[in-house]
Structures are given as structure tokens and as C-alpha cells.
């Protein structure tokens, strides 16, 4: 009788022999190499067509632009690897931004306000997790519903207006720098490192891959699938709420109109980075590259002075190219299915 382990669980559906951990790492590595190579090509291309692209200030600019979506994508990566996804981030980001603005304007210090906002995000994630696991409702419908609720809350709390910070010093995450790099970029880097460590070196991380690979087998293996799923949604929404704090700090204002593209952009970044919507595959390095691809394309096209309408066409085309490139690389490396 075969003992079901997380690695076994991943291969169970196909009925083949268990995939060694090293092979799955190699597969992930090839994915990253694929999208990483594509990113290098993008860098070379924009460097050639725009004099202003390959400069230190523009590099910082790109990092600034991608930080908000990057933070959301970190949480989204966990959700997608575990076999779900979270659309409600497009509501949690503006809710976080508005709440943060209201709290700092009410005299709450930046750190406690940020903690409170993240806690509210965790509550949103808890609701998502409970509905998905206990009621068995599809994550698409669940998170679509909480998206609408969160956006509505953001509009209700802000009464539809932009809420500027009464004290500009509350934008400390954006205004303070270390070596020219804003605090929020450094926070993003720290969160990325933490996310990588969790996925790569912890039992929790391995459980995510197992659950994403085969939920039922993981349950039979004794994993607390529902609890892990709830935790994943909580951390995803918490990160989205923190992203709202970041964007409010960037803009020195909270608005219900921010972060509306967070869900699709974060999912695109995670998938670009090699994850699969069916779960069980993906990682933080690939996600980061996916985020950078999206941000660099947007930045490069503005520097090339491409009209806004064409930018949308070009962005979509480049995304398809990127995914195709990574997929081709995977096929050539002998990846199965």
C-alpha cells in the first residue's frame, strides 16, 4: 500500500510514480529561466529604443511602480499555488487605502493604523476562506462577492471622495528612503524574502503545493486542508490591505478608485511567473519576475511615447508572448503536461 505524502499527492492524479522534489524544483527553475530570459530581452529592447530607460532613477521608478501590485501578487501567489485565487484584492486594496487615510487623519499613528488596516484585511480573507471551505462555494464567486462588498465599503467610508492626508508626514512609507530606495520598496523586498522562505523551507509551504496539486489526496494524507486554505486567504487579503496602505502613502490620499486592476494584474504576474491556475506550481521568484515584466512594459512604453490605446494592445500581446515563451521553454526542457 502506498503511503500518501505531499509529493505523492502531487503525482497521484496521473497515476504515475511520485515526482522527486528535485524534478519539481528543476521544472520551476526552467519556468523562471523562461520568463527570466524574456525579461532580459525586454530590458535589452527598451534600452535600445529609449535613452532614458537604462538609468538608475528609472530603475527606482520601475520598482516604485511595481511595488503595490507586487505586494498583492505575493499573496496571490500563495492562493494560486494552493489551487485557488482571490479576486477580492481589487476591493481590499482601496478599502485599505481609505481606512488608512481615515485613521491617520483621525490622529492614529502610522504604525498602529497600518496594523489595524492589515487586520481588517485579514478579516476579509477570513470571510473568503470560511465561505470557500465551509460553504464549499467556488473561489471565483466567493471572492467576486467580497470584491463588490469591499469596494462598496470603500466608497461608503470615503463617501466617494478622495481623502487627502491632513498630515503629509503620514506618508512616511513613501517619503523616507534608505539609500534612495523608499521604505515601501524595502518592505516589499522583505515580504518577498519572507514569502520565498515560507514556500521553500517550511512545512506550511510544502502543504500549499500539495493541496494545490491534489486537494483530496492532501486531505487523506492528514493535512488540515481547510485550515491551510483559510490561512492562505487571510494572508492574501492582509497583503492586499497593506498594499492599500502603500498606495495611500504614495498618493498621500486614500481613494476608493485605487487598486481596481489589482486582481487581474496580480494573477497575470503570478501566472507569468510560472504558476498554474490549477495549483501546485509556482513560486516567489517567478512571481517577482512576472511583476517586473508588467511594470517594465508599462514604463518602457511610456518612455517610447506609445499612445495609451496602443499600450493596451501591446501589453496584451507581450503578455501572450511571455507566457508562450515560458511554455515553450518548459516543453523543450521535457516538462510533462
Amino acid at each position: 500500500m502506498t503511503t500518501v505524502t505531499p509529493d505523492t499527492a502531487q503525482a497521484a492524479p496521473s497515476g504515475k510514480a511520485p515526482t522527486p522534489k528535485r524534478q519539481s524544483l528543476l521544472r520551476a527553475g526552467f519556468q523562471i529561466l523562461g520568463i527570466g530570459t524574456f525579461y532580459l530581452l525586454i530590458l535589452v529592447f527598451f534600452s535600445l529604443v529609449s535613452d532614458n530607460f537604462m538609468t538608475y532613477s528609472n530603475a527606482l521608478n520601475i520598482l516604485t511602480n511595481v511595488t503595490v501590485i507586487g505586494i498583492v501578487a505575493l499573496g496571490q501567489a500563495f492562493a494560486i499555488i494552493s489551487g485557488g485565487f482571490d479576486l477580492s484584492v481589487s476591493g481590499t486594496v482601496p478599502l485599505g487605502a481609505v481606512l488608512f487615510a481615515l485613521l491617520v487623519n483621525a490622529g492614529v499613528s502610522v504604525l498602529p493604523a497600518a496594523v489595524l488596516v492589515v487586520a481588517v484585511g485579514a478579516v476579509v480573507g477570513l470571510i473568503n476562506g470560511l465561505i470557500v471551505t465551509k460553504l464549499g462555494i467556488n473561489p471565483l464567486i466567493t471572492t467576486l462577492g467580497t470584491l463588490s462588498i469591499a469596494v462598496g465599503l470603500a466608497y461608503t467610508l470615503s463617501q466617494g471622495v478622495t481623502i487627502p492626508f491632513s498630515d503629509p508626514n503620514a506618508g512616511v512609507l513613501a517619503d523616507k528612503t534608505y539609500g534612495g530606495v523608499s521604505y515601501y520598496v524595502l518592505a516589499f523586498a522583505l515580504l518577498s524574502a519572507a514569502g520565498f522562505a515560507v514556500l521553500r523551507f517550511t512545512v506550511f509551504g510544502r502543504m500549499l503545493y500539495a493541496i494545490g496539486g491534489n486537494r483530496e489526496a492532501s486531505r487523506l494524507a492528514g493535512m488540515r486542508v481547510d485550515l491551510v486554505t483559510i490561512v492562505v486567504y487571510m494572508q492574501c487579503a492582509s497583503l492586499a490591505a497593506f498594499a492599500g496602505v502603500v498606495v495611500a502613502s504614495q498618493l498621500l490620499a486614500g481613494s476608493a478608485t485605487v487598486g481596481t486592476e489589482a486582481a487581474l494584474s496580480s494573477i497575470a504576474a503570478v501566472i507569468l511567473g510560472g504558476a498554474s491556475l490549477t495549483g501546485g506550481v509556482g513560486g516567489i521568484p517567478g512571481t517577482l519576475i512576472g511583476v517586473l515584466v508588467l511594470g517594465t512594459i508599462a514604463n518602457g512604453m511610456v518612455l517610447m511615447q506609445v499612445p495609451a490605446f496602443y499600450q493596451q494592445i501591446a501589453t496584451g500581446a507581450i503578455l501572450l508572448l511571455a507566457v508562450g515563451f515560458a511554455r515553450l521553454r518548459g516543453i523543450l526542457s521535457g516538462e510533462q503536461g
Partner: protein, 438 residues
């Protein structure tokens, strides 16, 4: 028994035995999926109109912002100089007639989320109350089908007049037909509708007037067309009329600053990104965040010591753009003008030395003009092709004349010549806030 009867029986029998096949389930669901909406539509068509829906639309935030841009197009009247027209006997009679009868207007607002539109809608309702006009309010949700559905419901109300604020210009002909068939006069707000009276601001004028305020200030600093770039932030998806403000801002600046590349306004389109060596246009999508990102990227192409004249289609966009400027430490080399008269922008005008002008269309007070316009129409007056909204380009010197410290309007600019017919209704006088009519 016909084959169809047999099929029905077999389905029912199978359901009774809980042994439905997959095909039967699918067929049943499809039937349910088609039948329920059809029944609902039928019931909705037959039912009485619901209470005026005011629930904010579940649209993305970006949808709210465009309306602010669309609204921010008043004719600039920085220094109102219109002489008051002498009232006519007809006007006296009509104002008396207007005061005597309680009219009933239906009002469909473009959107109920977003500061500008919510306040605008509230302004219409409160103005109607003061004027003694009954108003019923609908939410078009910035959506074509909803607008058309609301139009049908409004026609059922049998109002004396309809105030229609649609964000979808393409359905104008449909609206015209519906309202004309019902023989109900209507006023198109901001977006024109064929066959209707039109109330709107003039984007071209506000852009021109704003430039006329900004250019002397730039020149006073010693800036020239050779060392200055005009950075305009459009909302490309909102069309030519809305973006006329930024277009004519550039054209007017270029005309008045030596060394700038002059172009025809028609040469600046939604696809324009650079205007010679003197101008840059980015698409901020009329929102805070997108404008911030767009301007931040665009600034990479400008030398750090380049002077910048920044202008956008609405205050949210300007605030986001300004934040990109300050984050890039370029504020001392930038003059910025806003458009919308929002509380945040007025605060910037009062406190930020670089924020030198703010176009205001007083949209929260459009209601009193619309009600006056409606009463005039009811009294047999034919308005001009365009009734212009109140507007002014505020500076640090004039802002306190029109706004109090909390950002609330305390005085509206005098009526322009074309709007003098509104005075004859006596409605505006009830509010005691129009300069010359207090």
C-alpha cells in the same frame, strides 16, 4: 400522445425517480436560465416604477472619475463682467407663473458614486426643494442599458420635464425618440442628446482661461518656451469634448510663450504623446493612481531642471500628477492648475505656492440652474442652443470670494449674457447666491 408529451413525461418521471440524466439536467437549467430572466423582464415592464434608486453603481473606480472630467468644462469666467439684463414684463409674468405651479421633474444622474456626481445629484434635489419643484431621482450607473431602462421608467412617471445626465453619448438617438414619442421635454446635462435642451460647461473655454492665468505667472518667474514643458494629463476614453480643456490649455500657453511649438488644437488627439519639443501628453484615465503612475513615468524623459506647466482634466488626476512631481523633487520647477473645485484642490490652491489656478464649475450648484432652466421651458421660453454652467478660474486672490474655508460655495459668478433668461424665472433669486442676483 405526442413525442413531445412523452419527453415531458419522461423528464418528470425521471425527476420523480431522482434519475435525471445529464442531458436532462442541462436542458432543464437552460430552460430555467432563459425563462426566469424573461419572466422578470415582463414583470418589471408591467410593474410600477420603483423608488428612485440611489445605490452607488458597482462600477470600477475609474468610471467615477471620468464624470468628474466630463463635468469640469465650464466656460471660464475668472473675472465676471456681465452686465445684468433688464427684466422683461414677460419675465415677471413667467416668474410668477413659475412660482405658482408645482412642477414635477424626473432626474437621471449619470452615477451615484464619486464625490462630484453624488454632490451634483444632491444639489439638484436640494435646489428643487428650494424652488418648490418636485423631483424624482434615478441612477444611470454610467451604463447604456440602465439609462434606457430608467428613461422608460421616467416616461411612466409622466413628469413635466426630464433632466437626463447620461455618460453614454451613443444612446442619444434612442433617448430622443423615447422622450419625443412621450412628448416630454428634456434637458441634456453635460453630454448632448439630440432634440434636447443642453446644459454644459465649455471645456475649451476653461482650458483657455486657465492658461491665461498660468502663463503670466510662469513669465514672471522668468520661464520661457525654450526651458518649459507643458505636461497635460488627458482622460483619453472620455472623448474630444472632455479633453478640450487640456488641448486648449496647451494651445493657449504655446501662443503666449515665445519659443513654444504651436500646433492646431485638432493636432492634439487621444493618440498624441508629444507636442513638438514643448509638450507631453499622458493618459491618466482621470484617476488619482493612474495619473500618478503616468506622470512618474513621463518625468523620466524630462531633464531635472526643466520647468513644467502641469494641467489635467480633473482634480483627482491633478492631485495624482502633483504627487508624482513632488516625489520626484520637481515641485519648485512646476506650476500646476487644477480643474473641478474639489475640497482637496482648493486647499492646495490656498496653501501650495505652486498650485496657482483652479478651475471651478460649481457642479454642486448646477441644480439651481437646471431647475431654473426647466421652469423657463415650462413657461414657454426657448433656451439658447447651449445654456452654460457657472464657471470661474480661481486664483489665490479670488478663491475666498467664491468659496469659504471649508470648500463650500458661497457665491456663484454672475450670469453670462446667454443665460439671462434664467433670471426671468425668479428661481435663481430664491437662492441668493448668484452674483448680481442676491
Amino acid at each position: 400522445m405526442s413525442p413531445r408529451d412523452k419527453d415531458t413525461d419522461s423528464v418528470l418521471a425521471a425527476w420523480a425517480r431522482r434519475r435525471l440524466t445529464r442531458r436532462q439536467v442541462v436542458v432543464g437549467l437552460v430552460g430555467l436560465g432563459l425563462g426566469v430572466p424573461m419572466a422578470s423582464a415582463l414583470l418589471a415592464a408591467c410593474s410600477s416604477p420603483p423608488a428612485a434608486p440611489t445605490q452607488p453603481a458597482a462600477t470600477s473606480g475609474a468610471a467615477a472619475a471620468p464624470t468628474q472630467a466630463a463635468a469640469a468644462q465650464p466656460t471660464p469666467a475668472a473675472a465676471p463682467t456681465q452686465a445684468a439684463a433688464a427684466p422683461t414684463t414677460t419675465a415677471v409674468a413667467t416668474s410668477q407663473a413659475g412660482a405658482a405651479k408645482e412642477y414635477f421633474f424626473d432626474f437621471a444622474n449619470i452615477l451615484e458614486s464619486g464625490e462630484l456626481f453624488k454632490q451634483f445629484g444632491d444639489g439638484v434635489e436640494s435646489a428643487a426643494k428650494v424652488a418648490g419643484v418636485k423631483v424624482k431621482r434615478y441612477n444611470n450607473n454610467n451604463d447604456g442599458p440602465t439609462t434606457l431602462n430608467n428613461a422608460r421608467l421616467m416616461i411612466q412617471d409622466k413628469p413635466d420635464l426630464i433632466l437626463e445626465y447620461t455618460g453614454v453619448e451613443g444612446i442619444g438617438e434612442s433617448l430622443k425618440k423615447m422622450f419625443n414619442d412621450a412628448k416630454i421635454p428634456f434637458i441634456a446635462i453635460n453630454i448632448p442628446i439630440p432634440g434636447g435642451y443642453w446644459f454644459n460647461l465649455v471645456n475649451k473655454d476653461i482650458g483657455t482661461d486657465t492658461a491665461n492665468v498660468v502663463v503670466p505667472m510662469a513669465k514672471a518667474k522668468g520661464w520661457t518656451g525654450n526651458d518649459t514643458t507643458v505636461l497635460i494629463v488627458q482622460g483619453s476614453q472620455y472623448g474630444t469634448e472632455v479633453n478640450d480643456c487640456v488641448r486648449y490649455f496647451y494651445v493657449t500657453v504655446a501662443k503666449n510663450m515665445d519659443g513654444m511649438d504651436q500646433v492646431d488644437p485638432s493636432a492634439i488627439t487621444a493618440l498624441t504623446t508629444t507636442i513638438g519639443k514643448s509638450g507631453i501628453q499622458v493618459d491618466g484615465k482621470a484617476t488619482l493612481e493612474n495619473s500618478y503612475t503616468a506622470v512618474k513615468n513621463a518625468l523620466q524623459t524630462l531633464p531635472p531642471d526643466r520647468h513644467i506647466l502641469l494641467y489635467s482634466i480633473n482634480d483627482d488626476s491633478t492631485l495624482g500628477s502633483w504627487r508624482a512631481i513632488t516625489e520626484s523633487k520637481r515641485e519648485n520647477n512646476t506650476l500646476v492648475a487644477g480643474l473641478g473645485g474639489s475640497v482637496a484642490a482648493l486647499k492646495e490652491l490656498r496653501t501650495n505656492p505652486q498650485w496657482v489656478a483652479e478651475g471651478s464649475v460649481f457642479s454642486t450648484h448646477w441644480g439651481q440652474y437646471l431647475i431654473a432652466m426647466g421652469v423657463a421651458i415650462m413657461n414657454g421660453v426657448t433656451p439658447p442652443p447651449l445654456t452654460k454652467s457657472p464657471q470661474a478660474v480661481l486664483t489665490k486672490e479670488t478663491v475666498d470670494k467664491y468659496y469659504d474655508a471649508d470648500g463650500k460655495v458661497k457665491l456663484l459668478p454672475p450670469l453670462v449674457a446667454e443665460n439671462m433668461y434664467l433670471k426671468d424665472t425668479g428661481v435663481l433669486q430664491k437662492f441668493k447666491n448668484v452674483e448680481g442676483l442676491q
